[in-house]
Each structure stands twice: as C-alpha cells, then as structure tokens.
C-alpha cells in the first residue's frame, strides 16, 4: 500500500492539446512526474516545452486532455489551483525584485504581517533563512537581491518557488546563466530536493546535463510527444535522434582548408578588470575556437577587440597593421564584425523590419548621397534572405517575430553586407534549435572557405571541437592553452577549469 503510494505519479498529463492561432503547439502530449525524480524535458526550440510548462503552471489553458494530481483528475486548472497543488515554477528570466531583501523576495505576495499592517521582518528573515537552509544554502537573507551573484539569485528563485509547499518543481533552463561551480551547487540542491521526494521537471538545452542530473527524459518534437526513457538505459545520441527525428551523422560539417595570413593579432591585452594578459591570432580561412567558462573573459575580449571597451595596455593588429585605438566605427571600416552574445539585446533592432536590420551597418557605404533608395535596400535584404535562407522570407517582418536561428542569420547578414574580413561570433548558436544550428555552422564553413577569419566563442564544447581549426582556452582573464584541431574534450575542460 505504501509502495503503491510512493509510485503513484505526482503529476500526470494525458493527451494535452493546445493550439494558438495558426499553430498546433501541443498535440496529444503525455507526461508523468513521480515523486523524487528529476524528469528532464528536451526538444528543439518550438517543440512545445514552454507551452507545456505554461499549461502545468496554469498560465495557458489546455484545449483538451486531462491533468491529474496524485491520481485525481483536476477539472479546474489555473494559476491559483496550480500553485495550491504544489507546482513551483522557476522561470528562465529571473523574477526577483532587485532592491528588496532576499527574505522579502521569498515571501513576495505572501508577506508575514504583524498588527495586520506592518511587515514582520524578524519572522520573514527567520523563515526565509530556514527555507534556504532546507535546500542547503547559507545566505544572508537581509541582503538586497541586487547584491547577490547570479547563482545565488537562482537559489533564491528556487527557495521562493518552493516556499509554498512546492512538491512539483519546474526548472526552465536553470543553468543557462550559471558558471560551473554554480551549476554544481544547483545540482546539489536538486539532489537534496529529490531525496526529499520533490518531483522535478528539468528543461534543458544542454545534453550533458541529462546524464548528470536526470532520472528520466521525455522528448517533444513539433508539439508531439516522442517518448520517455530512463536516462540509465539510453545513449545521448538516441535522444538527439528522437529530438531531430533524423540521424545526424555528421553534426559539424567542416571542410578544412589551408589557412592564409594572420588577419587578427592580439598581444598582451589588459583592461584592468577581467582581461589579465591575452594574446592570440586568427588567420584567414580558419575558425579559431575560444573556449572557457562564463566569466573567464571571453566576451570582454571580443568587446575589446571590437573597440567597445577601453584597454589599459596591449596591441591589436589587423591584416598586419597595428590599430592605434580600436573603436566600433573604425572596426567596421577595417572589416571587423561582432556577433554579440545576446543577439536580441545587442545584435538586432527587434521592432524594425528585417530589411533595415540587414542594411543598417552598410547604409553609409551604399548610399553616399545620404538618401536611402528603398529599392536598393530591399534588394539587398532579398539577396541575403536567399543566400542565408532566412525564414520567413519577408523583408518587412519585424525581426522580433523571427525564430532564434533566423534572427542570428539576420545578424550575420548585417555583417556580410558590410563585407568584413574578420568575424567574431560570440555564442553563435546559443538557444538555437538543432536544425538552425547546423545551418549556421555551414555558413561559418562557407565563410572561412571564402577566406574570412572567424573567432568563435562558445560554451558548448562539441561546437568548439567540431568547428575549430585551432582552440584557445581562457581562464580567469588569460589564454591558458592552445590546442590543435582534434583535441579531446576532457583536455579542454581541464584547461578551462584551471587545471594544468
């Protein structure tokens, strides 16, 4: 009887359907969560993971299908019911209030009061502290959240979500902003919660995390339920196959060619903050991978080379000529392009139509008179839509409506229109689904074959390994290692973590 209860699923979804205008987002999706398991949910972008989460949270109403909690069918289902049944959501975007204390954040919306008006801060501090300790975190709950690191904020999010007798914890890509030690801490917390019988739904893009933390894995594709497997009995390749629906024999299709002259040479770069001493070179016709953990200074290096941040010392040489002081307009003129890490924020003008996003860096060179010829601009956009196969092929579409992969193609198109020689790709395929990823990689391949030089920053080791001619590894603001093509992942990871 007792064993029966333990095996009874906390949450069951049966035949969930959900349609939005023009899209069937979920088609007869089944899902089951048992107490004390980490159930990983994977799928390409647009596979329906977020929609499914929102159905569980009650933020979206299902069109049809059944939701069962502890084996009992729930006829009324909405945000309040979901919360009261113990569903605790941790969204990808943090939902903390920066200027208020950890305790006030944990109790947001359920503040403890004394004399019915005033906050009972003493009680809130004590209970918040207990809450954090119970998930294994020691933190001063009086600190304002803005003074915490990203990892600590994540823990506060989890404590906040669980504070309401959470039994079903939903984590939406919880590691996307965390560093390796922070991820380890998160995993410890997850394991502790699992041993307490909390059921955890873990959404992730990172394949390696499935093996690290998952008990079972469910795959969605195009809104359809593909299958559920025990992690101990499945190979990651098989999961990839389930996700993409086809065998990917060669995920990275690089054709290597003989590199040419040095296009970009950086020597002894220091910025007085993150960059301690960075020297590297990138040749025409090669992709140079830059590996390293978040916070190791990779993005700062990219910004410094492009001229966004000031340098204390060091030199930058482009095509054999020294650059006195790099700045963005100068970099543009010399043929350096930067594809930023956060493309929505730094790489695009989300509410402008596609055509302006493509032409924006080349307006000056294309229209010397100062007046824009709309026809020329449109044909430029059309040219790149064809070349890069941007979908949908509508030059008037605001780019915020494009998928991540197509947005990235727009950023690439913007630079190609300028005709750069050196391209810095900062996390070129982050948050992009597998199909579009391959297309971006093909593009990079074409670019280097045409003689461009690419410096590629990536947190995904397979990408670094599969795409690079050479690999530099950064650690705490320095280049700590350089490896040739074909180096093992383990070696690179060791360097990135500071072992030598």
């Amino acid at each position: 009887m007792k064993a029966d209860r333990e095996n009874r699923p906390l949450l069951q979804l049966l035949g969930i359907n959900k349609a939005f205008p023009g899209v069937q987002a979920l088609k007869k999706v089944d899902f089951e969560l048992r107490p004390g398991e980490v159930h990983v949910l994977v799928g390409e972008n647009g596979a329906g993971k977020s929609t499914l989460m929102k159905v569980i949270a009650g933020a979206h109403t299902k069109d049809s299908g059944r939701i069962l909690i502890d084996g009992q069918e729930q006829r009324q289902w909405g945000p309040r019911v979901s919360r009261s049944k113990g569903v605790a959501m941790v969204y990808q975007e943090f939902t903390l209030v920066p200027f208020r204390s950890v305790a006030e954040n944990i109790f947001l919306g359920r503040e403890k009061l004394k004399t019915r008006v005033f906050l009972d801060k003493v009680k809130m501090y004590r209970e918040a502290s207990d809450q954090l300790v119970s998930i294994g975190i020691d933190l001063d709950v009086r600190l304002p959240v803005m003074d915490l690191g990203v990892g600590e904020q994540q823990m506060v999010e989890i404590a906040k979500a669980l504070a309401l007798n959470g039994r079903i914890l939903v984590l939406d890509e919880p590691t996307s902003a965390l560093t390796v030690p922070e991820i380890e801490l998160l995993f410890q917390v997850i394991r502790r919660l699992r041993s307490k019988g909390v059921g955890i739904i873990y959404i992730s893009h990172r394949m390696e995390e499935i093996a690290q933390i998952g008990d079972r894995v469910t795959v969605l594709r195009d809104g359809e339920y593909i299958g559920t497997r025990n992690v101990s009995e499945v190979q990651l390749d098989q999961i990839v196959v389930m996700m993409v629906g086809r065998e990917i024999n060669n995920l990275f299709s690089r054709s290597f060619c003989e590199p040419g002259d040095v296009a970009l040479r950086v020597k002894g770069l220091r910025d007085g903050r993150r960059l301690k001493d960075v020297s590297l070179e990138v040749r025409h016709g090669e992709v140079v991978g830059l590996a390293g953990l978040i916070g190791s200074g990779r993005t700062e290096l990219a910004r410094a080379v492009f001229g966004l941040d000031t340098l204390l010392s060091g030199s930058i040489e482009l095509f054999g000529k020294s650059v006195a002081k790099s700045n963005p307009p100068g970099s543009l003129a010399l043929g350096v392009g930067l594809l930023p890490e956060d493309r929505k924020r730094d790489g695009l003008f989300p509410i402008l139509p596609l055509k302006h996003n493509v032409s924006i860096c080349s307006l000056r060179s294309m229209f010397r008179s100062g007046f824009i010829n709309p026809k020329v601009e449109q044909s430029l956009a059309k040219e790149y839509i064809d070349k890069l196969q941007i979908q949908p092929s509508d030059i008037e579409r605001q780019v915020k409506y494009l998928s991540g992969g197509n947005q990235q193609k727009v950023v690439i198109a913007k630079w190609l229109a300028v005709g750069p020689k050196v391209l810095i790709f900062d996390e070129p395929t982050r948050g992009i689904d597998v199909g579009a990823k391959t297309e971006i990689h093909c593009l990079m391949n074409q670019l280097v074959n045409a003689g461009h030089a690419i410096l590629m920053i990536s947190s995904e080791l397979p990408e670094i390994l599969g795409m690079s001619d050479r690999i530099y590894v950064m650690y705490e603001g320095r280049i700590v290692a350089e490896y040739p093509q074909g180096t093992g992942a383990e070696l690179i990871m060791r360097s990135a973590m500071g072992f030598n």
């Binding site: 309040r80 939902t95 209030v97 920066p98 200027f99 208020r100 947001l108 919306g109 359920r110 906050l119």
Partner: protein, 323 residues
Amino acid sequence: MVNRSKFRAFFLRVPTVAWVLLLMIIVFTISSPHFFTLHNISNILSQGSILIILSMGVIVVKITGGIELSVGGVMTLAGMSMAAALMKFDWPIPLCLIVALLVGTFFGFLNGIFVAKMGIPSFIATLGCQGMAFGIATGMNDGRVFSGFPRQMGYFGGGSILSIPVPVCLSAIAFLSSFILLGYTRFGVYVYAIGGNEESLVLSGKAAWWHKVKAYMYSGFMAGLAGIVVTSRNMTSQPMVGFGMEFEAFAAVVLGGSFIAGRGSAIGAIIGALFIIVLRNGLNVTGVPTYLQLAIIGPALIGSIVLSILVERGLRNRSYAGK
C-alpha cells in the same frame, strides 16, 4: 576586509547627494552668518515643506518606474478647489481640507488608471492630467485668485505647534508616512516589485496594476496636502502657484538615488528635496541674484546626478572586482 565592504555598502546606501548637501551646508555656513541660524533653518524647512511633501508622493510613483509630472497642477487645483469650497459655498474648513485631499487623490486615480489600465506612458498621462488640472484651476474663478480667507485658514501654512511651524510638522508626517509605507508594509514591497520586476508580482498572483494605481493615488493625495499648505501660507489660491513644482519634485527624487525603476527611498528623496531647498536658500542668503540662481540650480542638479551615478558606478565596480 569585512570592514571595507561594510564601509562600501554604507556608502552605496547613502545617496551621494547627501555628501554634497553636507558640503553645501558647510560652505554656506562659512560664507554667511545668517545661514546656520535657528530662524533661517526653520524658514528653510517651512519654505521647502511643499517640495518635501510633493517629493514624498512622487518617490512612490518613481520607484514603480513612473514619471509623475502632474503634481504641480494637481496641488494647484486642490488649493483652488479648497478655496472655492470655502469662499463660494461657505463650507466649514475641515470639509474644505477634505475637498483638497480628495481632488488630489482623484487625479492620482486618473493618472493611475491611464498608466496601469490603459498602458499610456506615465509621463504622457501625467502631463495630460497636469494640463487638465491647471486648466480647471484657472477656469474655476475665471482666471482670478481666491483670497480673503478667514484667519483660521492660515494655520496650515503659518501656524506652529510647540514653536515648530505647522508646514514642517506636515512634511515630517509626510516623510514618516512614505518611509514606513515603503519600508515596512506589504504595499511598499509591491511598489519596489513593480519597478524592479512587475512580472514577478503578477506571477505571485497579485493585481500589480491596482497597486500601481494606489501609488499614483498616494502621490495625488500628497499633492492635495501640498495644495492645502501652499494656499494656507499665501492666504490666496493662485491658479499657477504650482507651476514647475513637478520638475523640482522629480529632480529631488532622482537626486535622492531613484535613477532607475525599482530603486529609491523616502530618505533619499527627502535628502534630494533638502538639497534643492538649501541650494536655493543659500544662494538667496549669499545674495546671488534671482536670475542667476536659475542658471546655477539647473547645472547643479545635473552635476549632482552625474556625480551620484559616477560614485555609485565606481563603488560597484570596485566591489565587483574585489570579489
């Protein structure tokens, strides 16, 4: 190490303008014997009470991320309405005071509905309400002032309790009210939540929009109170008396550290308001001509805000690198 980070944390919590204010007080004290006297201080606070009261309302809206540009007009209209109730309808004074407060609160409600329910950007909504308020205030007595109030009406602007001027008492109450509201009540947490991350409040199952409306109503209420004080002090109600006050109140809260949504405090706001008041008074006492004063105050405001931002950035960077 611990000491140094505590030191830094302290400097981060105290708005930079507090130090500038301190410096200014020292400079004015040295340069004029009339500055640091009980009489002048009492005068300064009394003169500044209107700005302080307005700032105490505006800060709440500012923390939610709103820009409240209606308080100048609303305080004027509140004063005019009170005067009209008194002079045209002969209502008893307590009722007239309530009229002023209600008019203020009602305009706050309008602002709040425009912003929170209709999604109109706050500076447009409040600027619109400001125009409306000035328009009604001017039309109320065909562009003329109300005057000839009964003597008791002067109590709120000119009276005193235990030799403390009533306007100073009222600004102290306004300050305490905002201080407690922001720091020690649920509503305060929600105000910061709206500014810092409105979505989080919605996800916590709260009607964020309604709390936003309440923030504007609170600001309107304070504008109503300021209207009472200004009318009572002048013993006339002029249809343009609050002109430009919204910008001073806005400058005060920004000076007090509320640069971005979700940040700011009642203490910061009152320090910001005092900065403006002391600067004005100091320039008066040291004999700087009025036309030059305006030319000094503007750049001084901008300079202080720039300085505050730089200091904060410096402290933050260093604490970041020190980690």
